[in-house]
Amino acid sequence: MDLLTAIVVLPLAGFLVNGLFGARLGRGFVSAVGCGLPILAFAAAIRCFLSLTGGDGAPLVSSAYTWGTVGGQAFGIAFWFDRLSAVMTLIITGVGSLIHVYSTGYMKDDPGYARYFAYLNLFLFFMLMLVLGRSLLVCFVGWEGVGLASYLLIGFWFEDPEKARAGKKAFITNRVGDAGFLLGMFLLYHALGTLEFDGVQAAFANGVPAALSADLVGILLFIGATGKSAQIPLHVWLPDAMAGPTPVSALIHAATMVTAGVYLVARLNGIYSHAPVASEIIAIIGVATALFAATIAVTQTDIKKVLAWSTISQLGYMFLALGVGAYGAAVFHLYTHAFFKACLFLGAGSVIHALSGEQDIRRMGGLARRIPVTFATFAVATAAIAGIPPLAGFFSKDEILWFAFASEHGGSPLLWAVGAATALLTAFYMFRLLWLTFLSPSRMDEKTAHHVHESPPAMTGVLIVLAALSAVGGFVALPHFLSPLLPAATVAEGLESYETPLLVVSVVIAVTGLVAAALLYGQGPARADRLAARVPRLHRLLFSRYYVDELYDRVITRPIQWLSDAVFLRLGDRFAIDGTLHGLAALARGAAGQLSRVQGGGVQRYVLLAALGVLIGVVWVWRHV
């Protein structure tokens, strides 16, 4: 087995070992296998990366085995390691390993320790399959698999029905998106006869192939992406997914799984560069989601929910970039986002750990001195996401906003304006979070305040690493590195001069957000609450997430439940199927009842029947002999 396949298989081995034997072999063993194998996978990824960049730049390919042959066309499990998948793999294995190490501290006292690591490794396996797959088919296997792992991990504490329900919601919402993915795949295969990425890319190298509508395929595949990456209208599962353990939220719902949609569109850039309508839709939905989520994040009071809506918003930015043809910029933001969002989530986990389970920021405050490492790393990551230079987020976000304005492939000032407004809100609500959690006076109750303690080194060490990456990660020129694969979007004529002014505006926005948050929340939530009391309806609208969940419930869930109950259960199952069976049984019983009267017990009846038998015998003999 070559190194490339090993990257994918190592986490699978971890899943099997921990899943089957972990419970019996103790915490130390589980931690060693559960963290060690992803770290080995990371090392293997680095090795492959070096051979990729050291050589002539040709992608590494490895065929694992042939899955099946249908009518002459062979479908195989094959892996493909080019620059894009290299970046994704390094992020997944790198950040993944860090989060695994963090989990050894966070999940220390949980009885399901072995099961947790097994599921986490399973997730890594599927995610790697997703990004390393050579064809859409293998990618889809990984796509579904990460959905499964997500469901298992969101509902990890499944004894709580709310948490189990959250897992179900995530899975089902994803499935809705997957319908679009499948349809897109079918159309693509039907027109091109291949599902392999290099084949698809080659087919689109010289314009749209015949018999295929790139826009349609693009939109269908994007529907799949909206499901997985929580864009409007399929974003509803992500905030609920915070029911899972915090490291899971960091890994799956911030750094890796939710970026699968971004990866998919970037990988299929050949299609999207020839699908102007699809691209426009992507850009509009992306930026709308970004703004929508940011407005909601401003009012949320659960620390993890704020970060969840923030993730949705940042994913919106990535799709905005994809929509205007800046594929490299989108991946760059994906990369920086992985660092600072993971750091933020893990920091939140550290806070929750320190406060023995408290997640409501209205009951926090004053933690800066008491858990300094957590505070420092959280602050760095917050600054990064807000776009304060020279941290990583500044570079990637600014690049996106620039292309949103200036790209020839659909950029417009309107997109930029919405994006900039969102950036302002992002800075605002993130610093709001920072102030309310750490820097404002304490609003904790006595007992919790007494127990506040810094997290163990397994957790704080990881926080420090991620914060450092958030700080300096932006200096890696990722779009340039990816440009042979993902050509940079061309800038429209005459707009080059706007680049520097817009850069300045970005910085101003970030700082404004910081200042506004400090002013409003410096002393706690009181001032902001008074402000909210003046616009109660608006506040309620935002706090209730625009009532989208309620809308879906009313329009989709309840009618389907009614259909299931009244039509399928009552009519179909009970009346038709059970009724038929009961009817048949009643028929048999009735017939038997009637037939049993033959043996009534009267001798004369028997004689009569015998006589009839003889009569029939006589007639028969007469006719046939």
Partner: protein
């Protein structure tokens, strides 16, 4: 009409009358007697054919049938008596022990 044919027809008639009697009458003893009638009808057939064919076997068979009929009635009547004593009636409608 040919004598043999006629007597065979008579035998059929007596047999069916006996059968009807077994089915329609209620008294157990009457039932027995109707069964005897049926046996007699069968014997008539035997005798008719034996006479036609000048065959001793038929007549010998009839003789043996008489013996068997006597033995049979010797047992059947005690059985009916016991049954009547137990059920306190000769009405065969009351004898329902053979039911399924």
């Amino acid at each position: 009409m040919d004598r043999t044919q006629f007597l065979l027809g008579l035998s059929v008639a007596l047999f069916c009358l006996g059968l009807a009697g077994v089915i329609v009458r209620r008294n157990a003893l009457v039932l027995l007697m109707c069964m005897e009638l049926m046996v007699n009808a069968a014997v008539l057939t035997l005798v008719t054919v034996a006479a036609r064919n000048h065959d001793t076997a038929g007549a010998a068979y009839v003789f043996l049938i008489f013996v068997v009929a006597a033995a049979e009635i010797a047992i059947a009547i005690p059985i009916v008596l016991l049954l009547a004593r137990q059920r306190r009636t000769l009405d065969v409608g009351a004898y329902t022990g053979l039911g399924g």
